[in-house]
């Protein structure tokens, strides 16, 4: 376990050290104090615990690493993540998990607007609620929301699956409720387990996805 204190090392030194780490390395980052771009571009099976709140783009482009934030996170958390795991103990700001291809994002608090925008295969589990335009153009992956969703959930969604426990203020274009079948209950149970959520039953969720009405050009969709 190695300590990196951002009061003593620069952000660039911190990221270089983390990016050059070996598999199995363990790091604790102190005094993050809302700084941007912490722990970006990691590509080893390593664990990083950040003891504090972080700013923009934390854990961006992550591959394989297991990153925990013991506080709140700013905009663009785990943007374009490929694999690995990012766990935020507080809340996150806008476009968490944008365009992420793989791995798992777990948010214990709320996520704000555009969570999972254009997600391409990542799994996102939010213990709280999400803001407007979440899962906009979501292409692939699973998105679990234990609270409520803001306006236009899943607008122009492709093949991502949304599991929502509360209510959406509105559904976006082409996003509809779909039947929960056994395979969905099974994968939802696995996702909840992955996020250590044991007090919520899969039966409390509804599934949402694409009506696939926007896949082909239709003159009725033109303004």
């Amino acid at each position: 376990m190695k300590n990196l204190d951002l009061n003593n090392v620069s952000l660039r030194e911190l990221n270089q050290e983390l990016q050059n780490a070996q598999n199995g390395a363990q790091y604790v980052v102190e005094n993050s104090n809302g700084k941007h771009n912490i722990a970006v571009g990691l590509n080893k099976e390593q664990s990083v615990t950040i003891n504090g709140h972080v700013g923009y783009y934390c854990a961006g482009m992550n591959q394989k690493a297991d990153i925990t934030v013991e506080g709140n996170a700013g905009s663009g958390l785990a943007e374009n993540m490929m694999s690995g795991k990012v766990h935020v103990k507080g809340g996150v700001s806008q476009y968490c998990g944008a365009t992420a291809h793989g791995g798992t994002i777990i948010i214990d608090g709320d996520a704000s607007a555009r969570c999972g925008i254009s997600m391409k295969g990542v799994d996102i589990v939010v213990r709280g609620s999400v803001g407007h335009m979440s899962a906009f153009m979501a292409q692939k992956g699973r998105f679990v929301i234990c609270g409520d969703a803001g306006n236009a959930l899943g607008d122009s969604i492709y093949e991502a699956r949304i599991y929502l426990r509360g209510k959406a203020q509105s559904l976006g274009a082409d996003c509809i409720e779909k039947e929960m079948q056994d395979e969905h209950r099974k994968e939802l149970a696995e996702l909840l387990k992955k996020a250590d959520i044991t007090d919520i039953s899969v039966d409390e969720f509804k599934r949402y996805g694409s009506a696939r009405k926007l896949y082909n050009f239709s003159v009725d969709n033109a303004y």
Binding site: Y56, N72, S93, H132
Partner: protein
Amino acid sequence: MCGIVGLFLKEKKLEGHLGSYLSDMLIEMTERGPDSVGFAIYDQPTIGKQIKCTLLNTLVDSGEELNWDEVRQALKKQFGNDTKFEEKGSHALISVETDTNTLNEWLNENFPHINVNGSGRVIEIYKEKGLPKDVIASFNLQSFTGSHALGHTRMATESAVTTGHSHPFSTGDDICLVHNGSLSNHNRWREKLRKEGIVISTDNDSEVAAAYFNWRLKQGDDLNTALTKALDDLDGFYTFAIGTKDGFAVMRDNIGCKPAVIAETDQWVAMASEFRAIAMLPGVENASIWEPEPGKIYSWHKAA
């Protein structure tokens, strides 16, 4: 990119710390706005018929001598010996028995280089180009007291880096605006508002927003109505924070691109562009924290 912060104290016993809380918040927003910094403080109201005005000597932008003595003497001669005048670098805080319009007209005629930053019964507005920590130290912001305050750190995108272009902008007696974002239809609105007789002194887009609210309020709209109309009239990206004599309001545009986060405890309400500017406030660990929804007005007022 700019940084905006706002703090509203619910507990009177915290009022002595307002300036020190606000300086910490603003310094944390330096990376979002290293060009200039400004703040509006709401403290004790003036007594009697006097109004309080923060004057800005725009000669500071051209490096000329400020010559406050001449202004001080002329003010006393014009508005009486009770006029209080406190010099603070490029700024002067005055208490004077008149109204804002009369003072503005008199200044335009006699000292056109003096702008009224803010005026009313309670508001004081200070702003200066330079790094937030340096400007804050020069105004000794830590020592300010009051019930609520707004602040702004500027990274200029639309117009020049000068003290005159810095925020907050006054939008009428005891009302001011800070803005993070950019407006795309400000030129047309500037023309229209000038025709309506609203004074706009720079080519800054945010000043037009301030002038817009000034105009709406003069027409008799309340703040909520003016904000609602702004959603249709002002085109662009914005998070606005507006200070009033007894509270403040926050509104994001209908898309909600520009950041804002609000935190509330039993002791205070704070808003900022990023959580890091709130993280140092006492009791933040028990605050409820959320990001304002687009196109929705959030406001807080002192209990009457």
